[in-house]
């Protein structure tokens, strides 16, 4: 510990020594309003001009958080999102009453295959070479179809622009044997621009003890590899062909003799073209295969027990009639194949889906912008689904008022329709081929005020959730012994309020505070079963100062999650799950202090004190942070291209 403190002080001192001459203060940017967003309307628009409330997390934000995966970014930037453990320490996401299947995650607009206990594999979404993350809360099925019930999170990757770039970085943590190593190599020659990213991260198994040592939990260690390559070929001016390939490997140490493994193989080809001044076309194929297997240490056998393959084709066409009206039309087709140990005898099922959608984006009277759209989806195993939406914005000087209505739906998955799984001899879980889709009618109202250095946004959401898909105890199943079956249940109403204040001062101080309130209105006197916390808050304040050869950024960030009281289903003792027990989740707050130093615009040193106030839960629950207390991290990265260019420049003088 003492050695680490000395190291941190030395590294800080080195930074101060390098700061020889004062440079001008970093200019205040035009804040957030010149940012481009695409997710809300599927056409590029500035954040200032989109009627759909969108939150953008920039590459700069990601660097301040020093994030490894999307999970690190979301918990520190978006209140109301919580990651916890479900059975067997599988990562599970909750967002204001909605589960992981109700939030659609996209990478450059493409869906991801695979799920575990109703959540995608969040470890796949590493934060190397990310341009920005766009988050649109509320239903968005009129543009994105199934799963976009509660929000769409779209991760936009960078395109290689410089002639060449090489960035190498590592980070070590003081606890859990945590390590992260990454490299990004980019090359731009003539019409070709390629970007290759590699990330490796690992963490050892560790045990956490309750305060009174009455109980303990072994947290499984894991390691993973993420490889991504993106090749852009400029066919002609305004015509691009984009090739994409990715490989992901994850291994979790679940026991001495067995490891859980996950792999993903993805690839795609996309054409983006400007056909004329007013016409744009975007056509893409995406293939994604997600596997899970068990690896046996003694025999070396690696046995596949889950395979989800998705092949999708999509097309999007925009036509601008004038500066005031843009029409968008598109369609998608997908083949979805699933083989899993949760089907009887390891059988497989598949289905085809297709959809068509149209949208009009109309600006008028200088102050108004309205977007309206309609989409029809077809599922070969399930049927049809119609999703409308309308969003409007009224701009008056520094104030923008936005309002929207949209329909969201989540089609039953192959797993939910065909499952037949023996749950450790306790009971069986059965699928249901007659499931309807879960759907929401989503309303939002928002006010935004932007003036000088400040931006304040207040948004209210009201989601009417119907036909929720969940497992229900059926005593007639399993030859009268009972069993769980996927069913549609009545649903619930979810209300939330988000408030965000951002400030950016010319002296280099930036601050943002986001607060989210959530309440569930149950129907017919049913108890509240949502474990989402009523109050959550994220906050970050940082100070940035740049000299000629040295840049210093001190970042203090934290989050607060209030306690939650809710009910869980329980048995009355007759083998019938017909009663409820009250449960409480502990509230907590966690803070992080980072010192990011940049030398010669090429070498970055990041020193982090995580869990600054040494928080440890009294009792580790599924949604507690599995922390052992305060920890430290040291990271370093080198932009080799910038260093070489600097040396060349110096030598040429």
């Amino acid at each position: 510990m003492k050695r680490l403190t000395i190291t941190l002080l030395c590294l800080f001192a080195a930074g101060v020594a390098a700061a020889q001459e004062l440079d001008t203060v970093i200019p205040v940017s035009k804040m957030f309003l010149d940012m481009i967003t695409i997710t809300g309307t599927r056409t590029p628009k500035t954040l200032d001009n989109t009627p759909v409330v969108t939150r953008i997390i920039t590459a700069e934000d990601i660097q301040k958080i020093d994030a490894t995966t999307i999970k690190d970014v979301l918990v520190e930037e978006i209140p109301g999102i919580e990651f916890s453990y479900s059975m067997n320490q599988q990562v599970s996401m909750r967002m204001q009453g909605l589960g992981g299947m109700s939030v659609l995650f996209l990478v450059d607009g493409e869906r991801m295959a695979g799920e575990t206990l109703d959540n995608i594999d969040f470890q796949r979404l590493d934060m190397e070479n990310i341009e920005r993350i766009e988050i649109v809360k509320g239903a968005a099925s009129a543009l994105y179809g199934s799963n976009s019930v509660g929000a769409v999170v779209n991760i936009i990757t960078k395109n290689q622009k410089e002639p060449w770039t090489l960035r190498l970085g590592s980070r070590l943590g003081s606890a859990y044997g945590e390590q992260r190593h990454c490299g990004t190599f980019g090359l731009h020659r003539g019409r070709f621009a390629n970007s290759l990213d590699v990330q490796n991260s690992s963490q050892q198994s560790y045990r956490v003890y309750d305060k009174d040592h009455s109980d303990s939990t072994l947290v499984y260690g894991a390691h993973q590899w993420n490889l991504k390559d993106k090749l852009v070929f400029q066919i002609a001016d305004g015509h691009q062909l984009i090739g994409r390939a990715g490989y992901y490997f994850h291994e979790r140490n679940t026991s001495d003799y067995q490891r859980d493994r996950a792999r993903d193989f993805s690839g795609g080809l996309r054409y983006v073209g400007t056909l004329s001044e007013n016409d744009n076309l975007d056509v893409a194929y995406n293939g994604d295969r997600y596997d899970k297997s068990d690896y046996y240490t003694a025999t070396g056998y690696d046995i596949l027990d889950y395979k989800n393959m998705q092949h999708s084709l999509r097309a999007l066409y925009n036509h601008t009639f004038s500066d005031y009206l843009t029409l968008t039309a598109g369609g998608d087709a997908m083949y979805d194949y699933l083989m899993t140990y949760q089907f009887a005898d390891g059988e497989s099922h598949d289905q085809y889906t297709a959809d068509l959608f149209v949208q009009a984006d109309w600006s008028f009277a200088n102050h108004w912008n309205i977007v309206a759209g309609l989409r029809e989806d077809y599922f070969s195993r399930y049927g049809w689904e119609l999703s409308p939406k309308v969003a409007a914005m009224y701009k008056l000087n520094d104030v923008k008022l936005r309002g929207s209505y949209s329909k969201g739906f989540r089609a039953p998955t192959l797993k939910e329709m065909y499952m037949d799984f023996n749950m450790a001899n306790v009971f069986n879980i059965y699928g249901n081929e007659n499931l309807k889709s879960e759907n929401t009618n989503s309303f939002s109202l928002s006010a935004e005020y932007v003036k000088n250095y400040y931006c304040f946004t207040l948004t209210g959401f009201y989601n009417i959730l119907d036909d929720e898909i969940t497992t229900i105890w059926d005593p007639t199943l399993g030859n009268g012994r009972g069993g769980m079956k996927y069913m549609n249940v009545e649903g619930t109403d979810l209300a939330s309020l988000d408030a965000t204040l951002m400030a950016r001062y010319p002296c280099g101080i930036n601050a943002k505070v986001s607060y989210a309130f959530f309440h569930e209105f149950t129907r017919n006197g049913a108890p509240n079963t949502s474990d989402s916390r009523p109050h959550t808050l994220t906050a970050q304040v940082d100070y940035l100062k740049a000299w000629r050869n040295y840049q210093l950024n001190v970042v203090l960030g934290g989050r607060f999650l209030s306690r939650a009281t809710f009910y869980t289903i329980a048995s009355s003792g007759e083998g019938v799950y017909d009663t409820y027990e009250q449960t409480t989740s502990q509230g907590y707050t966690m803070w992080k202090l980072s010192l990011i130093q940049k030398f010669y615009d090429a070498i970055t040193l990041t020193l982090t004190v995580d869990n600054l106030f040494d928080y440890r839960p009294d009792h580790y629950q599924y949604n507690s942070p599995f922390t052992v207390g305060r920890t430290y991290k040291v990271g370093a990265s080198v932009d080799v291209d910038k260093l070489v260019n600097r040396i060349r420049k110096k030598n040429s003088k």
Binding site: S255, G267, Y285, Y296, D305, A424, V426
Partner: protein, 219 residues
């Protein structure tokens, strides 16, 4: 762009898509599903004995390799059996057991051959003792399990530690070789090798063990 050029480029794109699809399907080759062969054992071995049913015992005759599965309530047992398995519980047919310090049958056999390992003293052998076993898990969610009185051999049951402090439980095998003194005075050496059926989606409750019988150990 001429028509020929356009067709050539279109063909290239289609070929690339086909190549991508083919590469994804070919990924099955990296797994071992089709390559699994029974593990070689020093003496003999049992692979994937189905012990998934909490309500059943699997009775095994080490003399001839036979096995039979019967309900825990079955009053009439097989005429000849040496060892029985119920999930991870073990009982013997009037036998006794000792845990050795050896981690493999090879090591044990070498130690027996060179005289390092001799027959343990009488007082070290532990017979079966009255205990209870779980025979019905279906009420777990209601907070209770159905148990039934049964004799088990506590030494042999040490082959697997089941830590219930986390869910799912953590299973830690001892990896030790156990000596079993049968009712007829002959000796067997047993080493349990697994609890999972790798060919059946890693279902737990499938027990594998290697054994060496008969084993002659000097007094």
């Amino acid at each position: 762009m001429t028509k020929t050029n356009f067709i050539t480029r279109l063909k290239t794109k289609i070929n690339l898509l086909l190549l991508l699809s083919f590469m994804m399907a070919a990924c099955d080759k990296i797994y071992d599903n089709d390559k699994i062969e029974p593990q070689p054992a020093v003496g003999q071995s049992y692979q994937n004995i189905n012990c998934t049913d909490y309500a059943k015992w699997v009775y095994i005759n080490l003399h001839n390799g036979d096995s039979i599965t019967l309900s825990y309530e079955q009053a009439t047992l097989p005429d000849a059996w040496d060892i029985a398995l119920h999930r991870y519980d073990v009982k013997t047919n009037g036998g006794k057991a000792v845990e050795t310090s050896y981690g493999s049958l090879d090591e044990l056999k070498a130690a027996v051959d060179d005289g390092t390992m001799t027959l343990p003293a009488d007082e070290l052998w532990e017979p079966d003792a009255e205990d209870s076993i779980i025979v019905d898990m279906s009420h777990m969610m209601e907070g209770y399990l159905v148990r039934s009185a049964s004799a088990i051999n506590r030494v042999l049951c040490r082959w697997l530690d089941v830590d219930l402090s986390s869910m799912p439980p953590i299973y830690t095998p001892s990896d030790k070789v156990y000596l079993l003194l049968l009712r007829d005075g002959t000796v067997a050496a047993i080493r349990f090798t697994g609890i999972i059926n790798q060919q059946l989606y890693s279902t737990k409750g499938y027990i594998s063990f290697d054994y060496c019988y008969p084993l002659t150990i000097k007094q």
